[in-house]
Amino acid sequence: MNDKAVPPCQAACPIHTDVRGYVSAIAKGDVEEAIRIIRQVNPFPSSCGRICTRLCEKACRRAQIDEPISIRELKRFASDQTLGLKLIEIPENSYEEKIAVIGSGPAGLTAAHDLALLGYRVTVFDSQHVLGGMLSQGIPDYRLPKDLVKKEVDNILALGVEAKTGLSLGQDFTLEELLKDYQAVFIAVGSQKSLLPKYNGVELNGVIAAVEFLKQVSRGHKPRLGKNIAVIGGGHTAIDAARTSVRLGASDVTIVYRRTVDEIPAGPEEVEHAEKEGIKIIYLAAPVEFSGNEKVQSVRFIKMQLGDLDKSGRRRPVPIENSEFEITADTVILAIGYMPDAEVLKESGLNISRSGTVLVKDYTGITNIHDVFAAGDVVSGPQSVIEAIASGRRVAEALHHYFRTMPDKEEKNFMALKELDDGIVKLINKSERQKMPALKVEERITNFDEVDLGYSKDQAVMEAQRCLNCGAGAVVADNCAACLNCVRICPYGIPFPGKEIAEIDISQCQACGICASECPASAIILQLEAKENNRAELEKAVDIAREETPEILIIGFYCRYGSPIGPPFDEDEVCWLGKFCTGRMDEHQFIYPFELEVDGVVIHMCKNDECRFRDGNQWSKSHIKSAKKILNEIGIGADRLDIISEEDFHNFRNKLHALGINPLRTGKKVKT
């Protein structure tokens, strides 16, 4: 057990976003809090919310029960809901040093953002006139609308970052020149050059490279492709090229990939979208020759089978003899990979690897040239947006340390909580992942409108509530009296008697809070819901409700899992407070409102057999019963506190009106 371990989603995220934090904020409907958490580490929430490769979801422990949380779509939801919100103050210029960033993709702009926030003066150079790198020129609009990228880029420029566009390293300026005016140069020019295979006929007209094609389309061109298109490859670029061809009017688009559907790098959702849009995918085949007269007319392929593992750990495709076949193609789009433009980099004096990437010392991005740093796809080769952001962040921080002569910060190790035990998995209710609403096929293939429409608020909250809050459960404090009550009552059997005090394996705890509500020493702290916060929340709610001076004030506690979207029903006199299971509320939480002169307290629980935490209802009932007894004894009366449903609320209300206001407000005791 390691209590410093973080949820697997956070450990897997290259920038270690506090996923659990923002997902749980959405679970209680607080999108502002969610976006604040996201923005602490990520200046591109809108983009990542749409096209992130979501390593987090691959690590999510919910998959042990059913399916991972739709983390990416929740990020998108948080960002879509808060587009106008100003989250970051314009930083003060605190340092003299000027920094030049070459390349305005996610790596370069993230570095510019972080360095500007630290107080440096930053200028970004890009060969293009539009900033954003592949986000604005490469990834198609139907997956990532350009206006959203522009907003994110503008937010970064608003921090005082200067942009110089249409200027190319190697053509319009050199590293040497830059180093005269700037104290450091940050190279983030990405991977821009498509790899071309050496088959016969690759030079024919109509054989084009995917990245260049997609960039052209992003810039507003509409190349004429013809009817039959063959796309070769299986990554994002291949699928994007195919789906873009469909939108440009091609009627017959075929993707040919040399491995199987299980290995395809684009992922199952992209493949599904492509197939829905009428794109054919041929697996286990590779081209041998392109033929035609000046212009390509057909491609000959050979069938493949999977052989032994290669260096990447995937099974190597091997050709099957005498299995060649041909398809007609007016255009062939090659999407077999791309790499940095090594020429320019070499000419600038940088050390380059055999695959054309810039060689750096380590995570600090230090290159062989003094004061020159590099990050993103130009260092790693083609990766992903989130990895480019992570790289930009790390190198920006290293640069700051370098300038301020601080020691390099050791890379923090994010250890993931271990898997859930099988016994616990069986006790957790299944709950279906929310489906992303999307445009109908016929509505999408004629234009570049965004296909995925985003979750509704209801969907987002329900999806967020699927999160298991990994690692945010119960922690035993030193004042544990070792009574072992928690050991006896936990619905999952997680606490166990330790040598001196009870211990709770945080990696397995489901954060129901029942043990905390029952601990006689108040020694169990529920990280998700600190006791002080509960009190403060109640006091604030009562204060606010008082201002409306209702004759009778009722506090209503409702189970958020039972009523995910918000209070179960509206009533003028009731001020609702949501709880993630009412079973975690102790007796004091039911009587304390009366001390604050509230007139009545109602509890709306989930349905009996639907408790997220198995025993929650039973514990609520027991705590309420005991609180009622106390209310009777002190003369406030047990009838002011009750479990209700929407149907019997009016009975309760009538009874309460007959009882009148809280006797603490009149000083008249109720005879019991």
Binding site: C483, R488, A521
Partner: protein, 219 residues
């Protein structure tokens, strides 16, 4: 462990009738374990007292505090200064704790919030049973580890009274006949012959008893 339960609320209220500032003092050991006098119960009782006080037009300030053990002067000293701000201390400890505090903080009136009931063991979730009468002359070696002094309604030490039915005590039908339990246990252990011996009548201990451990109490 010592088991205690909260006195009826009315009784506590009456005790505090003449006090304005009361410290509700929990004990972090036995009564926390039996869930009647620990930090959580302090919070509840203090809240209840404040509210009841307001209704009686006798508003009281009820402070909340819990120390690890009220039967040790060193722990009591931890609240010495704070206690001087109060007119009375309502102790949620066992009788020993109440006296420990009364001895140490002699200038303040200490009142018991609890009835101390027995020395007992846990019998599963939320249940404790009496197990030892602190008689001062243990015979558990002869009774299969089951104490008839504490667990037989008549405290018989040389066999059952003969009134049990279906294994249940004739005095309180919810309780098992402890002699039947002893017999069964010894049978399992193949030690029935132990029952042939006689236990001598116990002499009632002379109160107050005192324990001096010569090794660490010199002089």
């Amino acid at each position: 462990m010592i088991v205690a339960e909260l006195k009826p609320f009315k009784e506590i209220e009456n005790m505090l009738r003449d006090y304005k500032k009361v410290m509700v003092l929990g004990c972090g050991t036995c009564v926390t374990v039996c869930m009647s006098g620990g930090e959580r119960q302090v919070e509840l009782l203090a809240s209840a007292l404040r509210m009841a006080g307001r209704l009686e037009r006798n508003e009281i300030i009820a402070g909340e505090k819990t120390i690890l053990r009220q039967c040790d002067p060193e722990f009591i000293d931890q609240i010495k200064d704070e206690a001087s701000n109060y007119d009375a201390i309502l102790s949620m400890a066992c009788g020993a704790g109440v006296q420990g505090v009364a001895e140490r903080l002699a200038g303040i009136h200490i009142l018991p919030a609890m009835n101390t009931t027995f020395i007992g063991v846990s019998d599963g979730q939320g249940t404790w049973i009496e197990a030892c009468a602190a008689c001062g002359d243990c015979i558990l070696d002869r009774t299969g580890g089951i104490c008839p002094v504490a667990r037989c309604a008549k405290s018989l030490i040389n066999g059952p009274c003969g009134g049990s039915k279906g294994g249940l005590c004739e005095v309180s039908k919810n309780n098992p006949c402890v002699w039947q339990q002893i017999y069964a246990r010894l049978g399992k252990l193949n030690l029935i012959n132990l029952l042939k011996g006689m236990s001598q009548p116990k002499t009632r201990p002379v109160h107050p008893r005192k324990l001096v451990n010569p090794k660490n109490a010199f002089g």
